[in-house]
């Protein structure tokens, strides 16, 4: 095991970064998309049940199945992995953002309007900052989920640590099979924990002290 890692540490470190990179990009895109959708849902309340149903159905779909559906469209490789991870990453953020935005006290919004803030100002300066802790909780869920989904997406040649797990499976009986599978799995757990710490730190930096849960 030690030798296995020692021989390949450069490659392992690279793949950890690749894994983190894929997930970060996907979660970033997903967060932007989800917040935009949630703002829309917040304006057009009739869309809320639709959004909730899509979230529920979406989270029910097994990721392996979605990969199967995306392959004919996007082919083997990074695009399919990216699309698949983004799809799942959107859902928890969307759900939390809808709840978070609608949870902001309406009198605060009216009070902001009453002081002469424009609609964009109210959204950016009042509503989003107040919903942010809930949204960020969704982002954390999303990030953790995406780590595992990216591993499955490596089956269709997506980047990252998932490929180690699949190589372990393919080389069953071989000398390094267990090493590959272990490095892949543990590597992802480590990346996931580090990413979660980063998000916690982001929370400390971006959530106002006035609304932070002590």
């Amino acid at each position: 095991m030690d030798d296995f890692i020692a021989e390949r540490w450069r490659q392992i470190a690279f793949d950890m970064l690749q894994h983190a990179n894929l997930v970060f990009q996907c979660v970033l895109v997903a967060t932007i998309v989800a917040i935009a959708l949630a703002v829309l849902v917040d304006r057009v309340r009739a869309l809320e049940p639709v959004a909730n149903a899509v979230s529920a159905v979406g989270l029910t779909l097994p990721s392996f199945a979605l990969i199967g559906l995306l392959l004919p469209i996007a082919g083997l490789g990074t695009t399919t992995a990216f699309l698949c991870v983004v799809f799942y990453a959107v859902l928890p953020v969307l759900r939390n953002a809808v709840v978070g935005l609608s949870g902001v006290d309406k009198t605060l919004l009216e009070s902001a309007r009453g002081m002469g803030m424009g609609p964009v100002g109210v959204l950016l300066k009042v509503q989003l900052p107040l919903a942010w802790p809930v949204i960020l909780a969704g982002v954390r869920t999303s990030m953790q989920m995406s780590m595992g989904i990216a591993a499955i997406a490596a089956y269709v040649l997506g980047p990252g640590l998932g490929s180690y797990i699949w190589r372990g499976l393919v080389q069953t009986g071989g000398a390094n099979a267990l090493n590959y599978a272990l490095v892949g799995t543990v590597g992802i757990v480590i990346v996931a924990l580090l990413a979660d710490l980063l998000l916690l730190a982001l929370g400390r930096l971006t959530i106002s002290k006035g609304v932070r849960v002590a």
Binding site: L108, G116, M117, S208, G210
Partner: protein
């Protein structure tokens, strides 16, 4: 579009008959109607009224009578279906709604502070929208916190949840006044605090209004509050129909109809207590001492005056405690525990408030303070009852004179 700099508005251009400074402007509503789609009767049914510059007008009426709707049409949070509203002679529809609102103060129940912003940031919302410089905004924040009786150094960087309800409401008032708007709209501003704090806040608002002379329109559901704060009271019935629009004195003395009489309530002699202010009474002299003074000397002076307690003041002459002599006798230098809760009366408080305060105090009397909480004297139960008797007597005389 006319964009006024709200800081340079009418400021010192006029004074009222008492020589009081007026920085407010006139608001005029003409045939204003608000009809919501799908509702048979309009929420506001052809409302016309004038709010004179520099006056406080209280909107009151049963719930659902359209008083809040009428208020919100003035800053265009609700757009009227028809009719015109002018502020200082200008039609408000001629201006961008957001620009307009930046020149109108808006204070609502509980303060409605933004929980993610500090006290200073909350107050600075409108100045920032108006793109004031950092320096000017900071100075203004300091000034306003002082005006509403909060220590700027202590509270500037706190978050709303670290403040009491009354403090939050004070910051709410400061925020409404931030850009020195000529007009301030208030929607049940003191509805969310306990009675003692409410009384205190009302007194402070009167003090502030005395200093600034804004035009204030304030919605309330509390007739005592309306009588206490209002230069005029507007009593609405359903559909925002005006039942009576007059001074508190006239409304109490001569209700226009049964609706108003019912609304104002029976026992209007007692309601008169809300009209009379503490500063109309002769205040009692009391033995005072500074924190750290010789205790024995204070005890001696109090005994000479036949009193059994001493009012202790701090270095800015603000009363901080009212200890009994027996407690002072055990001290050499006067010392009172910090944060002792001393309820005082502002000189603008009503006699109603005075009685309330006395009932909750162990002295059957209350300490009266003036501007910036400076000690003025003491009002006791005896002087209040004397005042009531005098009023009753004059009322009887007036009645006899009429008949």
């Amino acid at each position: 579009m006319t964009t006024q700099d709200p800081t340079s508005t009418p400021a010192d251009r006029s004074r009222d008959s008492d020589g009081r400074r007026i920085s407010g402007v006139e608001i005029e509503l003409t045939d204003v109607v608000k009809r919501y789609s799908g509702q048979k009767t309009p929420a506001v049914h052809s409302l016309s009224l004038t709010v004179p510059a520099g006056e406080v007008v209280m909107f009151i009426g049963p719930s659902g009578c359209g008083k809040t709707t009428s208020l919100k049409m003035i800053n265009r949070l609700i757009e009227p279906t028809s009719g015109t509203i002018t502020i200082d002679g200008q039609d408000i529809r001629g201006r961008d709604a957001d620009e307009l609102r930046r020149t109108i103060g808006y204070v609502i129940q509980g303060g409605s502070l933004f929980p993610h912003m500090t006290v200073a940031d909350n107050i600075a919302v409108v100045p920032k929208l108006l793109k004031w410089s950092k320096q000017k905004t900071a100075e203004r924040t300091e000034e306003l916190l002082d005006l509403v009786g909060l220590d700027a150094g202590k509270y500037r960087d706190r978050y709303p949840r670290e403040l009491s309800g009354g403090q939050q409401q004070r910051v709410g008032v400061a925020r409404g006044l931030a850009a020195d708007p000529p007009v301030v709209l208030m929607d049940e501003p003191f509805g969310a605090v306990d009675p003692i704090t409410r009384q205190r806040l009302q007194d402070e608002m009167l003090g502030i209004q005395r200093e600034l002379g804004k035009t204030i329109v304030c919605v309330t559901h509390d007739i005592d509050e309306a009588i206490k704060l209002g230069d005029r009271i507007l009593i609405f019935s359903e559909g925002a129909r005006i039942e009576q629009y007059d001074t508190p004195e006239n409304i109490l003395a001569a209700p226009a109809n049964d609706f108003v009489a019912d609304f104002v309530g029976a026992g209007s002699t007692l309601k008169q207590l809300s009209l009379a202010r503490v500063n109309e009474l002769q205040l009692g002299e009391w033995t005072t001492a500074q924190l750290g003074d010789d205790a024995a000397d204070a005890v001696r002076r109090a005994e000479a005056a036949g009193q059994d307690c001493v009012v202790v003041l701090d270095d800015r002459k603000r009363p901080i405690a009212w200890p009994w002599l027996r407690r002072l006798r055990s001290q050499t230098r006067i010392d009172v525990p910090r944060r002792e809760e001393l309820v005082t009366l502002d000189r603008r408080a009503t006699l109603n408030d005075a009685l309330d305060t006395m009932l909750s105090s162990s002295h059957a009397a209350a300490i009266v303070t003036g501007d910036r909480d400076e000690y003025l004297g003491v009002v006791d139960f005896e002087s209040v009852t004397q005042h009531i008797r005098a009023q009753e007597a004059s009322a009887v005389e007036a009645q006899e004179a009429r008949s």
